[in-house]
């Protein structure tokens, strides 16, 4: 059966629409994926920022500049002199030292 002119036109139109739909669908999926990727990146950056901020605050809280005055004022502690420091010898690894 030979296709008539209008059938050809219809076939070409269908092919064009199908191709357009495929391109559109791919673009949409890509844009959606890009958005999700951007959101994940933003979340990661946010978490990294939060971690860095917490690390900075922990470092600050652990620093001698903060700890020593607090320990002195609240707990009445002081930096030990060397005669107040006792070093206990630990077991030697592997040798079974006692």
């Amino acid at each position: 059966m030979r296709l008539k002119g209008r059938h050809w036109i219809a076939a070409w139109l269908v092919a064009f629409l199908a191709t357009t739909w495929v391109v559109y669908a791919r673009q949409t999926a890509a844009i959606r994926a890009a958005r999700e990727l951007a959101e994940i990146r933003a979340r990661r950056a946010n978490l990294e920022g939060r971690r860095a901020d917490l690390e900075r605050r922990i470092r600050r809280a652990e620093s001698r500049a903060v700890l020593v005055p607090l320990a002195q004022s609240r707990l009445g502690l002081h930096l030990p002199s060397d005669s107040e420091i006792i070093l206990l010898p630990g077991p030697t690894s592997g040798s079974g030292s006692h």
Partner: protein
Amino acid sequence: MARLAVRLQVVEIAVGLGLVLLVARAAEVQLLQGRRWAEEAQAQRTERIVLAARRGALLDRHGTPLALTQETYHVGVAPNELRDPVKDGALIARRLALSARAWSQALRRRYAYFAGPFSALEVQPLRNVRGVHFEPVLNRFYPAPEMAHATIGRLGDDGRGASGLEKTLDSLLAGRPGAAVVLKDRAGREYESPARVIAQPESGLDVVLTLDAELQEIAQRALDEALRRMDADGGDVVMLDPATGEVLALASHQRDGTARPSAFTDTFEPGSIAKIFAAAALLSLGRVAPVDRVSGEGGTYRMKGRPTPVTDEEPLPLLTLADAIRVSSNIAMVKFVARLAPAEQYGVLRDFGFGAPTGIEFPAEAAGRLRPPSEWTRPSAASLAMGYELSVTPIQVAAAYGALANDGLLLAPSLIREVRSPGGAVLYRHRVEPVRRVVRPEVAAALRDLLRGVVERGTGTEAALSTFPVAAKTGTARRVVNGRYAPGQYTASFAALFPADHPQLVLVVKIDNPHKGSYFAAQTAAPVTRSMLEQALAARTVALDRARLSTAAPRATVAPLEDDGGVVPYVVPWPYHPDSAAPGPARPVPDVTGMEMRAAVRALHRRGFRVALKGWGAAEHTWPAAGDSAALGSTVTLFAVAPRPDAVPPATPPRKPRR
């Protein structure tokens, strides 16, 4: 009719010519100029962007981050896109810390750009606000900005290392940027579409430094406090592990607040801390015997060719070399070094590394100055013996004292411990780099004894600890400003080895021009050293081998042998007397052969020995062997074998290892 035909032909020809021209132009555009137009179109619709590489981190020796790379943002606001300019505007202004005036100015523009950079936490609430656009940018972040600032350095505006280790290690840290292509519209705005990545960015390498964050903080705080108390112009502290040459802490502080790495870059005349190197030359060349004495000259000694006399603050009538170091006698040292040829004196100073950069991984290290003997004047030898006519950096002094601690072997100091890939694989690990043997081990030990005398009975008693012996030398030298000795200005310095036996730490403290109180190192730099040592001993993570410290120090208060209360005596003597660091008296190792392990260990402990076990079961033999003498507190290795009831007794007794 004919005229109409002619007209039609003319029109046809004109149309034909037009079509031909059109086709020709199309052919020209497509075929001849096609590449250029295609490129231009691509340039208009696409943009090649650089994907920044994440810069590697700088970590301390325990993995504490000192410099990190973090994603931050530039923020753009399009006021006409805001849904609720009042409400959104208030949020934006609050998050970006904008004043009311700055925000009202921004609202008048079509597109307001705020460079920031703003952290992810700051911009997080703005992510869903329409009209706010983010431009991510990688930024350097220093969790403790003041920590080792001058050593670590900073980045320049171009994102490359501009100073300090950031500069030295830039090629390792920078990584390699990638590239991608993005689509954009006519106005140049990027389409919301995935970028086509041409090359992925390669992150930079992480570098683990030798610095110990806790020691660094101790050094910085002690130095800052000392400079404030003494109203000094500036100062430096260097801490170094003599066994590896690794720099553990580096603190520099100037009164003007500049973060200058003066421990590497600023030279000074070391004064009396250099006397030990003259002593090294004398001892290694055998020019002085322990009993040799020279006169103290009543504290004033005139030399030929020297316009001003050599003086001592508190003269002794007669001095040995040990006395000369202990009380830091200029006169005695000048007299002793007269026994050296200039080339010998120069050679030993040169061997200790003076007059040449140490080679540490820092971009601007000063070499100092040590003139060759051909440039010396008549009093040069005497001046060098007292630490003048010589300029050094604190890091050179630390490395040289490290050689004394390290049995005479000079090591290259280092700031880099490891280089790791972004995945954590170790690509480089620092190895000890011996430069040369400067003095023999027995000479180094003798020099350490001289330094020990300084702290126990000499000018360095302010640095003495009651639990561990310290070896050190004080130095107070006139200060050179603009090439001349500044009247009334001094540099106080102190170089110490801790502990004196098997040193684990070299400390150099330098204080420039203290104004308040004494300017002598004995009263300025020595107490700072003591304070830092006490804090280092009490710190949790400081890179000190406490096992070695605890075993090196004590002479155990051993329980009486008859006392068998089942309690293991020792192990921590406290309070500890410094002299007890000397090896205890020897005593015979008891015979524990055949005893159960527990009983054997207890017997050895009761005798005052430490015990290391090899094997399990009944005691077979010991090393040192039963009956041999061993120092009190030393380790006896106990070899044990599991009893085997079915085993045939050996034909010959097991061979006992000999000492």
